[in-house]
Amino acid sequence: MLALENIHAGYGPIDVLKGITLRVNEGEIVTVLGANGAGKSTTLMTIAGVNPCRQGMITFAGEPIANLPVHEIVRLGISQVPEGRRIFPRLTIRENLELGAFQRNDDIAGDLERALDLFPILRERTGQLGGTLSGGEQQMLAIARALMARPKLLLLDEPSLGLAPLMVVKIFEIIRAINQQGTTILLVEQNANMALHIAQRGYVLETGRIVLEDSAANLINNEQVRKSYLGG
């Protein structure tokens, strides 16, 4: 469904990504693990068209998408829940969700209902401003907002960041549920343990290069992964 072929991208004179090759098949949850600064977010931002792709090929559903404008890529069916959630703090929850569906004009009401069913906590607060929500609720809103675009592929950047442990478990349950309803997911996480438990496959990123790729089950048992990312 999504394929990255030898991607180079970065900021200023320095390439943060030095030849990333990865693929995501339809229906999968694929996770990208790595330390701070390994290039995880840069990978997602390059797929989304925010960062220019300097070299290499990105194809989505067979079509090349590298360096298309961001809004075009969203229209093709790739949505991102960015790091830090980035909900619109001074718009209401309903407005946040409506903007998620900006590219569409069919049956937004139905999707709004579905999103609120998935996150009942948002339903009681649709008129409230986004900025008044707690961190976990904002993460839910950010995911719900991305789903409003009816993406074929959902990019998730550190959804567990800064959340209480119980909330992390909840968010991962929701991610799994979204996947089971048919959305393919590419998940970037520092919480390797949680990520590998819901993913089918994973890649390990170190300083802009893929150093390991395998099924999630094998990665959990991999000595190197255990030591570096799972706390021994």
Binding site: Q80, R86, F88, F102
Partner: protein, 313 residues
């Protein structure tokens, strides 16, 4: 005229001028809200709008007054909005990811270009500009709306012109508020203003939305041009400087980025000018406006209605 009548008269004058300032301030505040650029060319855009309005009048002089007014209120905003959009497209858009100083300095440059364009325009051999007259000389704007007092024989004058200002500006401001609050394009504008990257990730073409903001802000300046020219009956190429400063002060006073703030700030500055003209002295009025600007910046930098952004993280 009793003291109270004088005071009431100054209130009317102040509010009418304040509404005009508010229209210009809205353009400042909208552009600042969306790309954090103080568009220093905005006052001069207003000035060019006045010249465009005078040109429209000169070309349509034989038509009935209502039709001329209608043409003015359509063509001038289209001209100003289009020009503002074009400047964004040609200049600021290329500087989106540059430091904030780059578009700011560009805006000052655009302001000079507009100023000289106004000077050139005023020198065109058109009848309305008075053939032979120096390009820099103030031009008379024909009296299309009468000065008749609507309050009968009262000492206090509320003229047809004051009514015209109200009839044009109030619905426009209500319409703008509804547009920004309710429409898809308005919501996209607020989204881009709050978080451009997040808005792009929602599939919003941020450059397009920013262009629309320039178009709209410029259009409001165009309406202000028509209203101001009809109200004051004189235009000159340096008028954009003071108008721009008043409007900028109004936008900061109300809280830059806030639409109701711009209107409130505009009314405050208009009133302050009128009362200062009457009770202090005309020559101190500009000092008063700048004193207000300084006091606001020192004691309440977020303005009267400006949001202190405190958000949970």
């Amino acid at each position: 005229m009793t003291g109270w009548e004088v005071f009431l008269q100054q209130l009317i004058i102040g509010l009418s001028n304040g509404m005009i300032i508010a229209l210009i301030a809205l353009g400042y505040t909208m552009v600042y809200g969306i790309i954090e650029l103080i568009n220093f060319a905005h006052g001069d855009l207003f000035m060019l709008g006045c010249f465009a309005a005078l040109t429209v009048v000169s070309l349509t002089g034989d038509l009935p007054v209502w039709l001329v007014l209608l043409l003015l209120l359509v063509l001038t905003p289209v001209f100003c909005g289009g020009l503002n959009w074009l400047v964004d497209r040609l200049a600021y858009r290329h500087l989106r990811d540059a430091t904030k100083l780059a578009p700011l300095v560009s805006a000052i440059g655009v302001s000079f270009v507009f100023l000289n364009l106004g000077l050139f325009w005023g020198g065109l051999p058109l009848k309305v500009f008075g053939f032979g007259k120096a390009a820099a000389a103030p031009k008379d704007f024909p009296t299309l709306v009468s000065n008749a007092n609507l309050l009968g024989n009262s000492n206090v004058e509320f003229t047809t012109k004051d009514l015209l200002v109200l009839v044009i500006t109030v619905p426009l401001m209500v319409g703008l508020t509804l547009f920004v609050k309710q429409t898809r394009a308005g919501k996209a504008m607020r989204a881009v203003a709050q978080d451009r990257l997040a808005a792009q990730l929602m599939g919003i073409d941020a450059n397009r939305v920013i262009g629309q903001t320039f178009l709209l802000g410029g259009g409001l300046a165009g309406v202000a041009s028509v209203v101001a020219a009809l109200y004051n009956n004189t235009i000159y190429f340096q008028m954009g400087y003071r108008a721009g400063m008043d409007a900028f002060t109004a936008a900061v006073l109300g809280g830059i980025g806030s639409l109701p703030g711009a209107v409130l700030g505009g009314l405050c500055i208009g009133l302050a000018r009128a009362l200062s003209d009457q009770y202090i002295a005309t020559r101190w009025t500009n000092v008063m406006v700048f004193a207000i600007l300084i006091l606001v910046l020192v004691f309440r930098p977020s303005g009267l209605l400006g949001a202190k952004h405190r958000e949970k993280v």
